[in-house]
Every structure is written in structure tokens, then in C-alpha cells.
């Protein structure tokens, strides 16, 4: 289980994966609250108030009953090494308690660990003291042995787990020096270099060694096929596995021995409802109690259901467009030169950005459930900076900038420079309505300033390949971010053709700052660096941020204390045990 629910910047693909599955603009994206305004006044307190971590109601708490949550896709596996979809990860989080957990605003809180460790004076060492009263659901104590076992599974030190290929392995190999257990209830983790995102990204929930070791010792590669991954027999979280009706629902039951106390509910059901409209309908009929990610087009309609209350909040993600800006990219020499020309490329990038009416995009394409993005960090980030270059909608200025850059109107209305027409393709993945509409809107906007963009929705797998093949002119998509503000996976030159730097953006100055920012552990100092990073990126525009879609959550009024927020929405739900239903059913 990734500490950030697989939502660090590298995980765009994951999100797209779900899109392709559900054919609908889904769970992770759309939301609704006045987050933008809030940031200028109250920052994160606002998230606290509107998102999760409301003070849990303790009066009139009823025990018993169940809550049913609708999910657009069926979970695939409870294999923590490969699980990457929201349904599976949410269920895993309910069944397996972490060493640490997240509050709505992304701050970490202790769970199995007694406290959130502070880095020691060497800037490398983290000491976790484990609670001694925490037990697996079969009565065995949870000890440092379980933690060691889990890390060896993830990082492949003790056994040859490389055969399993944990998706965390490359990162762990790069940053994790060692995990040691000096005694039964202490774990000492050491990083190779000071690494700020370590605690938020790489602290995993322990797995039961006494149950899994025999399975793994038979064959590491067989771990994927283990029955445990489809019906966990031993858990540590608030709920235990009860049954999985394939393609229909997963039923969890309360864990009476949960170390923070038995949950109020008897059961929690994750029901597969493969259609956005059906999710809205079933919220109305009461067949499901929770819609974690309602389609924005249905959000207003949800207000008419008297049995449902709506919560919306800013979330860690953005929709944006990026272009090939590498003049040496052999796949796209023309666009590479248009956007990456050392003399005029930046002016062109600015011109295109000025020509897009993003407020209207947020209002019409995202049904007012998105805010205009003002910087490269997500709206939920503690590193968010407002002191960056702004790009208001100004088609006149856009046209002037293009004139300046030497792009003059040609005979057919499309601008020309040195015999090259300003014409390119803009792609997005098929099946995501908001995105398919957005690329149409972009093309229309740019047509007005004499730039020809041909919208082209493409197959999901092809879309994914753009990151590695860099065979595209311009791409429009979305990225979900994690708690940590690190942007290396998107803008660092070392991830050109590997991570999400498909733009081919290469700035030695920015590379240095990104490297420095992850090695400084002091948050206020990091914040200063990221303010500079944001200023550079918003000035240079290697990619153009469009909107910040909001999270839209509808919950039945019979459900209380459902403390969901931006960073504890899926896998991390420390509030889950306090949830109760007023009718006790």
C-alpha cells in the first residue's frame, strides 16, 4: 500500500486506467467547493472544515447497521504489490492499518506507530515505536517482524522478491538504505540521502508475516496468485473480509479486536455500480449510501434528492495540456521547433495560454465543479504559491504575442513563419467526456488567434505511450498528485521519456532546485524552494495548467461522521471507525 494511495505525480496513468475501464469521468476528479476562495483566506483550515476530520459526533451514536458505497469498477485484487485501482486500494485501507495515517489536509497521524517519527540529526534515520497492544485479527501481536517482512516484500532484500516486481521497488532501491528492528516493537528506517517525501510516500501498512511467509517461501512469483490476495484471512484494520461477490460487491464486517476500538458499523459494503447515472439513481433510492465521486453533470440533480447530502472539496490534481517542446525530438521536429524554439518558443507558449478562457471551461465543460488552476501545484498543497505569473484570458494579447514571435497570418487564416504553418494535433484519451470536449474548446479558442489545432481523441494505451515514445504534438490530460509537493516526476530532465516529462523540458536550474527540494527536510525552507519552482514553471510554461477539478461526494443523510476529505478519501480513512447510521440498519 503506497503511503499516498498511489496518487503521487507519477500516477497519471493509474487514473487513466480507471477512465478506460469505466468509460466515464470518474471518481478521482470532479469536485465542488469554493476552495479557491478559501485558499486566499484560510488555507488548510478550510479543508478541515469542509472536508474531513469534522469533530466526530459522539452523542446519539448508534451501533450496528451497514454502509454501502458505490464504486464504478470492481476491485481487482487485494494484492498490495500490484493493486493500483481505487476500489481495491480503498478496501485494502479498511482492512489493513498503517503505521501512520492521513488527516484530510494531508498531515500524518500515528496509527500502529505510537507517534509520527521525527527525522534524527543525521537527516536520514526514522525511528518508529510501535504500539504494543495492536493485534492481528487472529490474536497474534503485530510486531517489527511484520514490518520487516513487508519491506522485504516491497524492496526485495531478504528474498528474491524482484520476481514480484513491486511497483515501489525502483524508488525504494533508490532511496531506502535499510530497515532494521532493534527489538520487537521498534523499527529503524534509514534513507540513503535526506529525502523529504519518505514518510508520506514510503511507509507501508504491515502484512501478517506468520500468514504470508509460508506462501511466499513456496515461490515468490506465486504470491500474486495467493488466496490471501482475494480473501484476506487475517487483518489489522477496522474491518475484516467477509465475502466478495464478483462483479457485484465486497462485504466487510467489523473487526471486534480493532486496536482503536470496534467500529460502530457492523459491515461496510463496496458495491460495484458500473455507471455514473446508476450511482446517482441508487443514492436516491437508498440502495447505496455513498457516492465517492459523482459525475459533475449530475451534481445539481443530486441536490433534488432529499435523502442525500453533498460534500465537495478541492482535491490534489489538475487537468492540463503539454506540448512537445524539444527541437531535437526526431518524432515531432515541427512542433518541437514551434514550442521549443530558444528565441520565440516561450512567447508562443504564453500566447496559447492567454487565448484560453479557462473560467468558461470550468463553468461549461466541468459544470462549474472545477476551479481555474493558477499554478503547477495542486490546490491542496501546503507549498501552493500565489506569487507566480498570471495568464488571464486575453485573446488580443495572445495575437500580439504571436505577431511578436514572427508568426504572421497566412492566406487561409492560419499563421505562417518561414513557410511553416502553425498547425498541430491535440490528443486526449477516448472515453473521457470532459477531456474530449476540452480539446474541442481549445481548438476553437486557438482558431480565433490563427492557430490550427486538430482535436484527436486516441485509444487509452496509445495515450499512455505518449510519455515514453514522445510521439505527439500536444496532449491534454489530468494528473492526480499526492501529499508531497515534489514535481520531479513531471519536470525533471532525468524523466524525459521515462516519467511524465513527455514535453522534453530541460532546465538545469530547475533540475537543481527539484533535487535540492527533496533533500531539505525543513518544511518552511522547502516551501520557499517550491515557491521558486512554481514561479519558474509558470513563467517558462513547459505545460499549461487548465483547471483544478473538485471532488464531489454524496452521502446519505442516515450516515453520520463520514469524515472524508482530500487526503483521506480512498485508502486512508482514519475516521471510518466512528461512522454510524442513524437508523441502525
Amino acid at each position: 500500500m503506497a503511503a499516498n494511495d498511489g496518487r503521487d505525480p507519477g500516477f497519471e496513468q493509474f487514473e487513466l486506467f480507471l477512465d478506460a475501464w469505466s468509460r466515464r469521468d470518474f471518481i478521482r476528479r470532479m469536485g465542488g467547493a469554493a476552495a479557491l476562495a478559501a485558499f486566499s483566506i484560510g488555507g488548510l483550515e478550510f479543508l478541515e472544515a469542509c472536508g474531513g476530520n469534522q469533530t466526530a459526533q459522539t452523542q446519539n451514536v448508534r451501533k450496528g447497521g451497514h454502509v454501502t458505497e458505490g464504486s464504478l469498477s470492481d476491485p481487482t485484487t487485494f494484492d498490495i504489490i500490484f493493486s493500483s485501482d481505487t476500489a481495491s486500494n480503498s478496501l485494502l485501507g479498511m482492512m489493513f492499518a498503517g503505521l501512520l495515517d492521513f488527516r484530510a489536509d494531508g498531515t500524518q497521524i500515528p496509527m500502529i506507530a505510537k507517534e509520527v517519527p521525527k527525522v534524527e540529526s543525521d537527516q536520514l534515520t526514522y525511528r518508529f515505536n510501535l504500539r504494543q497492544d495492536v493485534k492481528w485479527s487472529d490474536g497474534q501481536p503485530i510486531t517489527s517482524d511484520d514490518v520487516l517482512f513487508t519491506y522485504s516484500l516491497m524492496a526485495g532484500s531478504t528474498y528474491d522478491y524482484k520476481a514480484i516486481n513491486s511497483r515501489y521497488w525502483p524508488d525504494l532501491e533508490q532511496y531506502l538504505d535499510s530497515v532494521k528492528a532493534p527489538d520487537k516493537y521498534s523499527v529503524i528506517m534509514k534513507t540513503k540521502v535526506p529525502y523529504a517525501p519518505f514518510l508520506t510516500n514510503y511507509v507501508f501498512a504491515p502484512l501478517p508475516k506468520h500468514v504470508l511467509e509460508p506462501v511466499v517461501q513456496k515461490s515468490a512469483a506465486d504470491f500474486r496468485k495467493a488466496d490471501f490476495n482475494f480473501a484476506p484471512t487475517v487483518v489489522s484494520g477496522a474491518f475484516m473480509f467477509d465475502r466478495w461477490d464478483k462483479s457485484q460487491q465486497v462485504v466487510l464486517k467489523a473487526n471486534p479486536g480493532y486496536f482503536r476500538g470496534r467500529p460502530n458499523l457492523d459491515s461496510y459494503v463496496m458495491k460495484t455500480v458500473p455507471d455514473g447515472v446508476a450511482i446517482a439513481n441508487q443514492l436516491k433510492t437508498g440502495e447505496i449510501d455513498v457516492g465517492n465521486g459523482v459525475e459533475p453533470s449530475l451534481w445539481d440533480d443530486m441536490a433534488t434528492a432529499s435523502n442525500v447530502s453533498r460534500t465537495s472539496f478541492a482535491q490534489a490534481g489538475w487537468d492540463y495540456y503539454a506540448y512537445d517542446m524539444d527541437p531535437t525530438n526526431p518524432k515531432r521536429p515541427v512542433t518541437g521547433k514551434i514550442f521549443g524554439d530558444p528565441a520565440t518558443g516561450k512567447t508562443v507558449r504564453m500566447a496559447l495560454y492567454h487565448a484560453v478562457d479557462r473560467q468558461s471551461l470550468a463553468d461549461r465543460v466541468y459544470f462549474k465543479q472545477a476551479d481555474v488552476a493558477t499554478t503547477v501545484e495542486p490546490p491542496t498543497s501546503w507549498a501552493l504559491s500565489t506569487n507566480v505569473t498570471k495568464y488571464p484570458y486575453d485573446p488580443k494579447k495572445a495575437a500580439d504575442l504571436l505577431d511578436q514571435a514572427g508568426w504572421k497570418p497566412g492566406p487561409d487564416g492560419v499563421r505562417i513563419k518561414d513557410g511553416v504553418r502553425f498547425s498541430f494535433e491535440i490528443i486526449t484519451n477516448v472515453g473521457n467526456k470532459a477531456r474530449e470536449t476540452t480539446i474541442q474548446v481549445l481548438a476553437e479558442s486557438w482558431k480565433k488567434i490563427g492557430v490550427e489545432a486538430q482535436p484527436k481523441p486516441i485509444q487509452f494505451t496509445e495515450y499512455v505511450k505518449t510519455s515514453t515514445t514522445r510521439d505527439f504534438d500536444m496532449v491534454m490530460g489530468g494528473i492526480s498528485a499526492g501529499v508531497d509537493p515534489d514535481l520531479s516526476q513531471i519536470y525533471h530532465s532525468r524523466v524525459i521519456g521515462k516519467g511524465l516529462n513527455r514535453m522534453g523540458y530541460h532546465s538545469p536550474q530547475l533540475d537543481d532546485m527539484l533535487d535540492k527540494a527533496v533533500q531539505v527536510l525543513d518544511q518552511s525552507k522547502r516551501k520557499q524552494i517550491y515557491a521558486q519552482v512554481q514561479q519558474i514553471l509558470m513563467d517558462d510554461l513547459p505545460a499549461a495548467m487548465l483547471v483544478w477539478p473538485r471532488a464531489l461526494v454524496a452521502v446519505s443523510k442516515r450516515v453520520q461522521n463520514f469524515g472524508i476529505g482530500p487526503f483521506n478519501r480512498y485508502q486512508y480513512r482514519p475516521w471510518l471507525k466512528d461512522v454510524f447510521v442513524t437508523d441502525g440498519k
Binding site: G10, L16, F82, D245, P274, A278, V464
Partner: protein, 324 residues
């Protein structure tokens, strides 16, 4: 010689099933290439890791080698494991096919049981208001998309009653209740709406077909003869005419047999029915090659067998047909 005929048909079916699997394989390969579902799209994995997985799955081999290997395993009864979750493909099928069959068989039975009487009544009362009304309904049934009909039924039977009476009249999704469900009555309650929607499309076509077939038979000489020798009208219609009129319908129903497996896709999505059609669709989009190959091959085999059964049934209904 029925058994000889059966053997010959089954042997002839082998290239059909092989062809379907080959086409599926080539299509999947052409669109997906060496994409490893859930892995290739994770930029944090190193190229070496992705390549190792690609090798493990055999995706680094030329496509004909991959197909050959797959075929070899199938011949040995091994459908392989899903690339996404590592579950046996046969387990995936066994988990969901019964649900789909429950839905589609019910729908087809409903459609047959309703369309024949409707067709007969229309034919006997040709040109009357009853006939016109039934004709209008049939045309509507063909014209209305399944998903729209499904959503309307959900609205009328589940959403509106829930908002006014506090509970839906019938459940609008799933095959069983989460708790205390699973008994026949509970399953029936969940089955009614999706089966009705699915039956409606079949019903429209089949009732029109029964009507015209019935009209044709009623004008035959042997019907006139039967009437002339003083046979009661009921016997003429139901024993002589109807039996002959429904024979072509068997072919028509037989043609819908592929729908037993796949036909429920839209209904399965709208009603959250845990069936194989929806599952196959999801996995095709996710490029779970092994699962999709297993599912299509299995479905192709099922269709071949289904068509064969229809042909045999034909002989039972019409003794004039002989198998040679």
C-alpha cells in the same frame, strides 16, 4: 443418422472456434502490442522491470509464437491466468457466466412465452385495433434503446417510489441483496427489471415474426382442409397452424444464442448485473489479453453448441427435416 450429423457438425466447428480466437488475438495484439496492463503505465517502474514482466508474459515474442503457446495451453485445458489480477480465467468465467445465463435465459423464455401469443392474437385479428396497438408496441420495442428503457424503468419502479414511499418497489441493481439475500425470491426481485428490458427487444421482433408466419400458415391448403372437415377453430389454430408457424421462429431464437453470453452487456451495465458480458468488455478495454482470449473462445464454443442444439430442436418440431 443423428449422431453422425452431430460429430460432423462438431468437427466443422473447430475451425470456427480457432478462427474466432485467432481474429481476437490479432486484434488485441494490433491495438495493445506489448502493453502490459497495469504495469506499462507506471512510470516509476524501471524499463528493466517492465521488460522482465513482458518476458514473463511472453509479450516479447512474435505474435504467432504467442498465439501458438496460447493454443498449446488451451489444448491442454489451460486457459491461463488474468494478467491484471492473476486469477484463473476459468474461475473468472465460472464466477460470472451463471449470472449472465440466468439473465439471458430468463429474458429469452419471457420473450418466447409472450411473443407467440401476441403474434397469434395479432394474426387472428389482423387489421383490428388490437393488432394495431400490438404492432405499435413492437415497432417501439425495436426502436427504443435498451439503456433508455432500463433507465426509465429504474426511474419509475425504483427512484420515484423511493422518493415518495421511502423504498424502491424493486431493486435497481445487482443480482442479490448485500445482506440476507441470495434466496430465490431475492434473486427474482433483482432479476425482474433487467430481464424485462432484455426480453423487450427480442419480444418485438419475435412477435412480428410469429404474426406474419401465422398469417402465411393460416392461408395454407391444409388449414383450409382442416376447417372444411369441420375441425374446431381452436384445434385448427393451435394444433395445426401454430405448430407449423413457430418452426421458423426456432431458427430466429437460435440466431440469438450468441446473445446468451454477450447480449446482456448494456443491460448488465445499466443494472449493475454481475455478468460475463460487462466483465469481458471491461477487460478488453484494460487489455487483459489472457482473460479476453479465454472469454471469446469460450463464448464461441458456446455459440457453436447452441446453434447445433437449435438445429436438433428443429428436427424435433418438424419431422420432415432429416439429418444427413
Amino acid at each position: 443418422m443423428l449422431w453422425k450429423y452431430l460429430v460432423r457438425r462438431l468437427v466443422a466447428a473447430i475451425p470456427v472456434v480457432l478462427g474466432v480466437s485467432l481474429i481476437t488475438f490479432v486484434l488485441m495484439h494490433a491495438t495493445g502490442g506489448d502493453y502490459v496492463p497495469g504495469i506499462s503505465d507506471d512510470p516509476r517502474l524501471s524499463k528493466a522491470t517492465v521488460d522482465a514482466l513482458r518476458h514473463e508474459y511472453g509479450l516479447d515474442q512474435p505474435w504467432w509464437v504467442q498465439y501458438g503457446l496460447w493454443l498449446w495451453n488451451i489444448i491442454h485445458g489451460d486457459f491461463g491466468r488474468s494478467m491484471i489480477d492473476g486469477t484463473r480465467v476459468t474461475v473468472h468465467i465460472a464466477d460470472r457466466l451463471p449470472n449472465t445465463l440466468e439473465l439471458t435465459v430468463t429474458a429469452i423464455l419471457m420473450a418466447v412465452l409472450i411473443s407467440i401469443p401476441v403474434g397469434v392474437v395479432s394474426a387472428l385479428r389482423r387489421g383490428t385495433r388490437v393488432d394495431n396497438a400490438l404492432t405499435t408496441m413492437s415497432v417501439a420495442g425495436v426502436a427504443v434503446p435498451e439503456f433508455w428503457l432500463g433507465l426509465m424503468l429504474i426511474l419509475l419502479v425504483a427512484v420515484i417510489p423511493a422518493q415518495h414511499l421511502g423504498a424502491p418497489l424493486l431493486p435497481s441493481s445487482g443480482a442479490t441483496s448485500s445482506f440476507g439475500g441470495g434466496d430465490p425470491l431475492d434473486r427474482l426481485a433483482h432479476l425482474i427489471l433487467p430481464a424485462t428490458v432484455l426480453a423487450f427487444t427480442y419480444l418485438s421482433i419475435w412477435s412480428r415474426f410469429t404474426r406474419s408466419s401465422m398469417l402465411e400458415v393460416l392461408s395454407q391448403d391444409y388449414v383450409r382442409t382442416a376447417r372444411a372437415k369441420g375441425m374446431g377453430e381452436r384445434r385448427v389454430v393451435y394444433q395445426h397452424a401454430l405448430r407449423n408457424a413457430v418452426i421458423p421462429l426456432v431458427t430466429l431464437v437460435g440466431l440469438e444464442l450468441p446473445g446468451l453470453v454477450s447480449g446482456g452487456l448494456i443491460v448488465e451495465v445499466v443494472f449493475g448485473w454481475p455478468g460475463i458480458g460487462r466483465f469481458a468488455y471491461e477487460r478488453a478495454l484494460a487489455f487483459d489479453y489472457t482473460t479476453v482470449m479465454g472469454l471469446t473462445t469460450f463464448a464461441a464454443a458456446l455459440v457453436v453448441v447452441g446453434n447445433l442444439l437449435a438445429d436438433v430442436l428443429y428436427a424435433v418440431l418438424d419431422p420432415r427435416i432429416r439429418y444427413t
